[in-house]
Symmetry: D2
Subunit: 311 residues, 4 copies
């Protein structure tokens, strides 16, 4: 069996923005499976106790691999990215607090007004046997996920950064659902789609409330395809659920992102399962679920078991 194509940050260098202007680092065909090697969100700066995030040296977070040019991806289509295995490269991850995280707690500069700072702290977490060792006494399951996955957005897009606002193009969504065995559908805004990914987490809570997950360098196997149906916002599908993603890009609030995610899901359900949109709205009101990724991303989902009788 021929080895899979391999794209590594060691060869491509770092990107911090999802840009339509960058030269592709690789070109893949529909249905091709590849392996992508990513660096961690701190650019490898936090590897042993006492290490600190150094913003002078590396001002940006979340280095990405990309753009990957996908043959046949054009504006009236979408691409699909199916996540395969996610392997930790160095057997550990790290989570940390710095004064930069304060914007996760509140966007208002009250710490600045009061002359206080968040403490600097980092935890190095070993990953072994399906567990992540948060501390001597607390272990948590290894549930790896891809934090940032997206295509090059419009130049006037809602954001072009891995560091901040995700949008219709995906980006830094931090959804624990982008995990092995799930497929992500993304709209295409530029020829070749221009896919980027990075920011892999060994585990992450909803909201990623300190600003960092267990950030780790990783090897991610993905299968890429081009699909005819197009979608306005990212979608995720697993064996059990269909899920629609929306974000707070363009200045909307999280409540409105939830509304958008559900309305997009409802219109998708109407198209795929023939469920009238107003019935779909009423059904989601009973069994819909909301996932909060980070404080800028939500996903609305419904289990397929409720819909299969309609097929």
């Amino acid at each position: 069996m021929k080895p899979l194509k391999r794209i590594s940050f060691r060869d491509t260098g770092f990107k911090y923005a999802l840009s339509p202007y960058d030269k592709p680092v690789a070109c893949v065909k529909p249905k091709e499976t590849i392996v992508v090697e990513t660096e961690d969100a701190a650019s490898g700066q936090i590897r042993k106790p006492g290490d600190l995030r150094d913003r002078e040296k590396t001002p940006f977070g979340n280095p990405l691999v990309g753009p990957i040019y996908i043959e046949g991806a054009r504006k009236d289509r979408s691409i699909s990215v199916t996540i395969g295995e996610i392997k930790p490269t160095i057997g550990q991850g790290a989570t940390y607090l710095t004064r930069w995280n304060e914007s996760y707690l509140t966007s208002i500069p009250v710490f600045k007004l009061m002359n206080v700072d968040l403490p600097n702290e980092a935890k190095i977490c070993k990953i072994r046997d399906g567990f992540v060792y948060f501390s001597d006494r607390i272990m948590i399951p290894y549930q790896p996920m891809v934090g940032t996955l997206g295509v090059a957005p419009y130049p006037e897009a809602e954001s072009t950064s891995s560091g901040v606002l995700p949008g219709r193009h995906g980006g830094n969504m931090d959804l624990p659902d982008i995990a092995p065995m799930s497929t992500v559908f993304l709209p295409v805004f530029h020829e070749g789609a221009l896919l980027y990914l990075g920011d892999v987490h060994a585990a992450q809570g909803d909201g990623e409330v300190s600003g960092t997950a267990v950030e780790m360098p990783a090897e991610v196997t993905i299968k890429i395809d081009v699909v005819r149906e197009s979608n306005a916002w990212p979608r995720i599908e697993t064996g059990h659920v269909v899920m629609s993603v929306a974000t707070t890009s363009a200045g909307r609030n999280l409540e409105d992102a939830i509304r958008i995610a559900f309305l997009e899901l409802i219109i998708w359900m109407e198209k795929r399962y023939g469920l009238n949109r107003f019935d779909g709205l009423m059904l989601c009101s009973q069994v819909g679920r909301v996932r909060v990724g980070n404080l800028w991303t939500v996903a609305a989902s419904i289990e397929k078991k409720y819909l299969k009788a309609l097929q």
Copy 2:
């Protein structure tokens, strides 16, 4: 065995606001278990196909039973309400759309600007054998919950209504977690706490995105107690999780409610489990979960299994 005290909306009439000024409809002792009979959120107006919500006749939604005076409840304490069995009174519930629901889809009067309306629609859902029959072809599990549970708030509280904004006093939180076997802790703002409840649902999705769940009249068994520890915001505890609730009262947005819920959870974990607040913040960032009740209420939770090694 002596029958439990029984408080029914048939005897007490409807209340639509959680008010410190109302005369108690009953008085209970700490550790007492009672049965409360509640009317559905549409005040019984939707019982058969074709029924419509009539806002002229009954302008308000979510009729409540209360206030219930709790002996020993005073300002430096909290009350706990443990949910027992929730029985549907008439073997059915209803979910519906009306033009009033449009504020659930967006708070902007665009429908008014464009002279369009949401269609009027109602579904009567039979409840039997552990299922709710949403339609001929779609059945969903019976997962009953109490939509509105709260105490009389401060007069200048963030809201005093069952119909709208929940707050520190609880109220219309619409959390599927307020279900059999869970305990809700509420701060006390007035002597006797003055507890109200109603708005029971046979099933409800996150966000309750059409504006109504499967609304049903019900009999709810609850055990009430007074506890010494006080909490700023509602808390929920089950055998598996500890959970802190926050809302968008006072004009804050849902992101900020999520931040508050986690910070309150972290301070609670520090007090109960001795986990330093900054470690708690980092742990929640890996394994914390967010529940969206309605578009004004969130809860942040952590599974107790992560904390038991600390005891």
Copy 3:
């Protein structure tokens, strides 16, 4: 000339909530002019340097005078309140910071997380000769206004408090435009309207960003009337502008309140001046103005000079 009817907090006591359940303290006829004497927002606790707001003694802020029953006010009508002279009762006002104000700076309990507090500070400001003396070196114009003006809301209203969220019923709007020579139109939700007012300021900035203005006890002359046209949200009219108010009640954000205020203004302009609503929308986009009252209240306005050619 017969002296005007006079309603004083000295006779009526304090109210902290705009409630449909309170017994009226006075009854007035359409077109009647009355004088209302109000206490300051700190209930008179801050009168000399060193005084502090004592929340144990008086937990609530913004004491109100009311409800005033207005003859002929009923659901399909609105009331108008024209502001006349506003006189400072004791020749001074006060502005202050306390730890309670922190929610004005951010709704997130970060101060609690970091164990810091806002400093306690109060300034007593003399009012004389048309000036307010903020400090030895800074004097500002005396521009008095009524901070809280509203009618009893629905029991399930968006808020029933003077302390917090204003809504369709008015309430704690903190708009500098509610000043001598302006008329406020309020919808009626209960027979008699049940008007409340208080929280008078000698001066106030947009957003009232520390949480307090120059709070003063005052005598306010108002002329009350009943009008046939009804409005969904409060309106303000002066000789120069028409203005529509909206708030963040019901969990919406300020952007959405701005959208509502403009859409309501546009529909009002269509009705009154015959300007097609889409032309009105485009005109407001060129010459509309936004006032931010407090962080929960906005008003959208247009100068009448742009509309007079249409009459």
Copy 4:
């Protein structure tokens, strides 16, 4: 006198994003005055009655001129841009509605859910003698302003687009205060600052609530300089006021942008006028003013007359 350097979109082509990666179109020295010729926000597509915005042909809005490299601009400094004369190039502007504007009315796709659209409409507005002719019967003053002015942001910046979210780097702020005789201070994130501008308006209301102002091609005279003091967010200064700008970038809401703008203004006042930050907070609460630019940008200001006694 030597003619001023002139930079025209005719020579440089259009840019739609403020990017650190673009090649400068010109290089200027500190204290240099230049003339910039900009195209209108619709890329010239709407010039006579019946013209429509064609998104297939030109998908992006707000074409910009830039980047302009400024000698001596580096990270620890700021640049200042003083606005001189703003001349309409073709004696007219245009304002219009299209279905794309609906996101200005609400970010929720309710129009999509209900299958309705905003009407297509355009008004061509002659500009003459200091007036803008909105229609036969309505004329408004010519009050020109620069809608988009900004420097290249961080790659992980809050937005890199002229079309959408402004941020610390400026961008599409749509503040009527960026007008002749005002100076804008912008932080520098890249060597040479890399200045962009465009999107000139003949008049604009607060909030720009239809989504378009009176958009016109224009010649803008600006004087550029480099200053030693650096600022976290854009500042504006006129003869009368100092003003601090903040935006909803990074997912915050407008209330929080107002809080940031005032806290930044207060810290600026402390540094420049020696007014203690807590006194500054209390003073802004009495005489601070808020400008709403578009629904993503606010500015907090104070008149210098209140501060001059401190110098």
